[in-house]
Subunit: 344 residues, 2 copies
DNA sequence: CTGAAAGCGCTAACAC
DNA sequence: GTGTTAGCGCTTTCAG
């Protein structure tokens, strides 16, 4: 048990500065600097004494003054739509790990609440960071403008206006997934798209991955249906539950992402359908959640650790000037791989 | 190596400062400040022109100079052991949301990689933040020391040395959970603890929640077993799989957290046990994952949004001086509630 | 080994 | 409307 010396500092007293410590120790501020930063050219006893005093006064150097003088330690903004979808923390975890390894720090903004947009997130982050990595869902152009010279790396979005980008080869993913279903002789395939549930009226998917899936399905001349639900497991479950009543013959479902696929599995189970016997399911993302489901989810997986590494390395290149903004090297395209588990 | 011709600002040229913009516009720096910050007392045409130039020069104000002059906009560090366990992002999401609402920004450190500790995380965060909220797994004393006067809020840890703390009433949780099993006539109960798998040799749980569960079980004179596994679904699954072979009579399992409970469910299903008929399972945490599992997980739930709010409000109090460090108001204790779903 | 000066980039307070 | 002065807290010279 340790006691706080001389009472608790209750009110946020004016932060003590280097000068307070210097005065208390009867030395100059440079000596304090030397003591605090472990610099040479100072007597060990002095260092001890100064540090002791600093501790007692609760002195901690101002990050602003330090940054102003020394030049910024890199600070990266990470804009994410929804930490509640396990996909994003998995990605964030990787980014944070690798950024930390480089001595950077990461400011996270989850803009999924209160009707905020990816642009809001970037604007909120902008004053505090040297660069931003983010899933913005559009706005790349304005977001890059808000950052000025500081690089923006956008994910899963048209790369034209950002310094860097990471995209996915959805045609490849769609091909693998659709073919898997078709080769297993699935005849009535549905694709569950994420979006505002405008009813099943719209015949065209709106997301890039949706379009890729549709394209492949059309290309094969397979009969298929489009379903739309909000990007949550619950909404997916409800949408599929309703759909199964209309189209009981459905024997294969492709899903926008794994989280929604979890909801689809629930709907199938509630409807008494065996998976994959009666109906196969393929998700997309490859998050760890998939193996915890019953049956375990077959999915188009991205290597999220690899993605984090790609993002951080790309940013490093942009920051050091090794990679120039908008150059070929600044546009990455990653591919999904088919992970066969139990649902297809 | 590609060198970009002048004209395309590729290399990280020396950041342009307010003076560069002032010079380019032929005005004083104060006018630039007024233009950039939307301050009054400036002709609209001048503002436009200055902003235009700033944009072209890629000028963005130095956060250090600004912070030095204006006093810090609050920056909160969030130290978290593992973004891969859905519990933590759920909590983080809430903290980030509410901090953002207050105009704060949040620097996240996930210290679960590379053998880093909670203390490492705080030390890494310290230079950049005005306060830290964190699951540190010990180290509160040293972490608070590293922060000096800046408040530290520790979660799920002895609160003695931190400015603020949030703890859980595990006795209450253990009572609810154990009684639920006992009243359902479960006779051979096991508790799966998180920790380094030292073999089933140790007869005593090491975590606070483990001790609470053990206490309740002992108090009731029920026969029970202690199991230990690392804090992952996979490890939990393996541990339980092995245990079920030794003790096939097991008919109720209490689990350290929901993630591990997911693994337990898999082990049970692999062993051909029906849940809850053959064996009931109760998790702890109340993360969204629970409802996606099959069968849906019964659990001792914390309201994570509520927790995030409690943490942010407590921090606000500490920062403004409304709450004094170490005072009664700075020590919060939250209770779990039993959420009955399908596994018990 | 220690101290004194200069200045990082910005904005608040006052001139004009 | 706009410019000038001062100074935020720190580290980097450079003297002693």
């Amino acid at each position: 048990m340790s006691h706080t010396p001389s009472g608790n500092p209750a009110k946020p007293a004016k932060r003590s500065t280097i000068l307070d410590v210097a005065a208390a120790a009867g030395v100059s501020r440079q000596t304090v600097t030397r003591a605090m930063n472990g610099m040479p050219g100072i007597k060990e006893s002095t260092r001890q004494r100064v540090r002791q005093l600093a501790q007692e006064l609760g002195y901690t150097p101002s990050r602003f003054a330090k940054g102003l003088v020394q030049g910024a330690r890199t600070s990266v903004g990470l804009a994410i739509p929804d930490l509640t979808n396990p996909y994003f923390p998995a990605f964030a975890s990787s980014v944070v790990e690798l950024a930390t390894l480089r001595g950077w720090h990461v400011v996270v903004d989850d803009y999924g609440h209160g009707g905020r947009s990816g642009l809001d997130a970037v604007e909120h982050l902008a004053p505090h960071v040297d660069a931003v990595i983010g899933y913005l869902g559009g706005y790349a152009q304005q977001a890059q403008a808000a950052l000025g010279r500081r690089p923006l790396i956008v994910l899963d979005e048209s790369p034209d206006d950002a310094a860097g980008s990471i995209n996915f080869d959805y045609d490849h993913a769609a091909r693998l997934a659709v073919d898997q279903l078709v080769h297993a002789n699935r005849r009535s395939i549905a694709y569950l798209e994420a979006g505002s549930a405008t009813g099943a009226a719209s015949q065209l998917p709106s997301t890039v991955r949706g379009k890729a899936v549709a394209g492949r399905l059309e290309g094969l001349g397979t009969s298929w249906s489009l379903l739309v639900a909000e990007e949550t497991a619950e909404a997916a479950k409800a949408a599929v539950a309703g759909f199964l009543r209309e189209r009981p013959e459905t024997d294969g479902i492709l899903v926008f992402n794994d989280l929604m696929a979890a909801g689809v599995l629930k709907a199938l189970s509630d409807a008494g359908r065996m998976v994959p016997e009666d109906c196969a399911v393929i998700g997309m993302d490859g998050i760890p959640l998939g193996v915890l489901l019953t049956p375990q989810l077959t999915t188009m997986a991205l290597d999220l650790r690899e993605m984090g590494r790609a993002a951080v390395e790309l940013l490093d290149g942009l920051l050091t000037g090794t990679v120039s903004p908008g150059s070929e090297a600044s546009r990455l395209t990653l591919k999904h791989r088919l992970v066969l588990r139990e649902t297809a």
